[in-house]
């Protein structure tokens, strides 16, 4: 019970910080919204090869991709926050208390996820006037998948931050990793247009599976195989990433 209570406590505390600096939410969300607005007129013709025959179809393909980019990129940069808190002694202060070490990290990651999900909901709502239609059940499942992706990205980012310890090195490293990951999951440019060799590389990218699953859910195809495949890939990787980062945290934060 204690690890859960502690996680909840850390979560609440981090959410308080988010509420105090709402500007962070806005910054994170401007890029996806800009993409949503700018590419709107191009969507139907551009996504025709993926089977989009109407704007509603196009948005069902485009919006989930946008949301995957959001959770992936924002999630991968959460390590900066952790390094800042380490430097400010905030984490040290909680480490002399009997708080569970696991909770100190997981609570933080979950608060990042909650923030990302708030942004994801906002983007979805904004896309509705453009013609996006989704049914609520599959949408909730899609959000679950996105939340897991965010948790995994955030845990990975924490782990890498704990290994390299330098904000100056973390930025370029995360950029190098996240760009190909995002492109190779076909989030913005559909991989249906890509040559065969590119698709076979993409199949090694877990986010490719997750993106396909999310798209299927937005289209309402809950029984599409890509849904359980994507879910399985993401659950396994999330568990591994969380275990890795919490272990590193317990060992390396000295």
């Amino acid at each position: 019970m204690k690890p859960f209570r502690d996680t909840w406590l850390v979560f609440q505390r981090q959410m308080l910080l988010v509420r105090r600096t709402p500007i962070r939410l806005v910054i994170g969300i401007t890029q996806p919204i800009a993409y949503l607005l700018l590419f709107a007129p191009l969507l139907k013709p551009a996504l025709a090869p993926m089977g989009a025959t109407s704007y509603a179809d196009a948005y069902r393909i485009y919006v989930p991709g946008l949301l995957v980019v959001l959770v992936l990129l924002s999630g991968l940069f959460t390590g900066f926050g952790l390094l800042a808190e380490l430097r400010a002694g905030i984490i040290e202060r909680s480490r002399v208390t009997p708080m569970s070490r696991f909770a100190l990290l997981l609570g933080r990651a979950l608060s990042e996820v909650a923030t990302l999900m708030g942004q994801a909901v906002l983007i979805t709502l904004l896309a509705i006037p453009f013609g996006l239609t989704v049914s609520i059940g599959p949408l909730l499942l899609a959000y679950l998948m996105l939340a897991l992706m965010g948790l995994m990205a955030s845990a990975l980012s924490y782990a890498v931050a704990l290994v390299i310890r330098s904000p100056a090195a973390l930025g370029p490293l995360m950029n190098t990793v996240s760009q190909p990951l995002a492109l190779l999951s076909g989030v913005l440019l559909p991989l249906a247009l890509a040559p065969h060799w590119l698709v076979s590389i993409a199949r090694w990218n877990p986010f490719y599976w997750a993106t396909n699953g999310t798209r299927a859910l937005f289209a309402g195809h809950v029984d599409d195989p890509s849904v359980w495949q994507g879910m399985l890939v993401i659950i396994v990787l999330t568990v591994l990433a969380v275990l890795w980062s919490t272990r590193l945290f317990a060992q390396r934060v000295r």
């Binding site: 308080l16 400010a88 000295r254």
Partner: protein, 314 residues
């Protein structure tokens, strides 16, 4: 209350290069005292404190804190101690009240009780006025008081304070000393590091001086200074000092005596018994005497004798 033996820690800084930050520290801190850990920059104070507060695993040695074994039961140690880091650790965006409630909750205290404790702590540390302002707006002294309030919210039996008065003006420093004395009056054992000699002298019941990771002296500030040369008394004498010097030279308490301009300087074991003896002797012989001054050797002298360096220069 705190007992350590052979505590040590080295850091690997680059490949192959290590820093022996703490090299075998033995301490015995009694319940209810303010124990000062005095040493220059880089002496190993923070490293020792971080080991004692479970933040760093020692490379060797043992420690028991408030009855809990540091290696065997760090969880219990955490429950029984409070720790205030050298740099503090408050968040700019939240208020003192929020920080205090959260800190109490981190020790497993329930919501209602946590709020009450926060109120009490705000009162005790004179923070009520600023309680609902973000920490970013606090002055250095207010922030430091909050740091300490956070460190004691769970009523620990031992409190570790790492350089609590660095950067404070003399008034805030004196204020901080009063806070620390108040905590001792409540029965807390306070372990405080400092590199201010005056602070160690004025505030601490006992001190240990650490240099290059080893303890070079330990005792009450008075004992340590007495160990050096006892006390120094100067007394102004009207007219010839010869007669007075002959008279005082053989007194039990007087170790050594020098003639100075307009009087005598006497090195004595203990001024509290020596001064009455001196005065009685001079008075009895009808010698007119003027100003009498007592100088105690400072901790600076202690540090100098133990390490061959002056603390302020190192």
């Amino acid at each position: 209350m705190i007992k350590t033996s052979g505590l040590r820690k080295s850091f690997t800084v680059k490949k192959g290069a290590t820093v022996d930050a703490v090299r075998g520290v033995d301490l015995d801190v009694t319940e209810g005292e303010i124990f000062g850990f005095l040493g220059p920059n880089g002496a190993g104070k923070t490293t020792t404190l971080r080991m004692l507060s479970t933040l760093l695993v020692p490379d060797g040695g043992e420690a028991t804190i408030a009855g809990a074994d540091l290696r065997g039961d760090p969880g219990q140690v955490r429950m029984r101690i409070g720790y205030v880091a050298q740099g503090g650790g408050t968040t700019d965006e939240v208020t003192a009240r929020e920080e205090l409630v959260l800190q109490a909750r981190m020790y497993g205290i329930g919501k209602t009780e946590a709020r009450e404790r926060a109120n009490t702590a705000l009162d005790a540390f004179q923070l009520t006025e600023y309680a609902d302002r973000p920490c970013a707006t606090y002055s250095g002294g207010q922030r430091r008081r909050l740091d300490i309030a956070l460190g004691v919210i769970h009523h620990p039996r031992v409190l570790f304070l790492d350089e609590p008065t660095v950067g404070l003006d003399p008034q805030s420093r004196a204020h901080m000393w009063d806070e620390v004395r108040r905590l001792r009056a409540d029965g807390m054992t306070v372990f405080i590091t400092t590199h201010y000699l005056e602070e160690a002298d004025a505030l601490c019941d006992r001190i240990a001086i650490i240099d290059h990771g080893t303890i070079v002296a330990e005792g009450t500030p008075d004992d340590l200074k007495r160990e050096i040369s006892g006390d120094v008394v100067t007394v102004g004498i009207e007219g010839s000092t010869q007669h007075a010097a002959d008279l005082l030279r053989d007194k039990d308490d007087v170790q050594r005596l020098e003639t100075i301009d307009g009087g005598l300087r006497l090195y004595v074991d203990d001024s509290s018994t020596a001064i009455p003896q001196i005065l009685r002797a001079l008075d009895g012989a009808g010698i007119e005497f003027g100003k009498l001054e007592l100088h105690r050797p400072s901790l600076d002298d202690v540090f100098l004798t133990k390490t061959g360096r002056q603390m302020r220069e190192s």
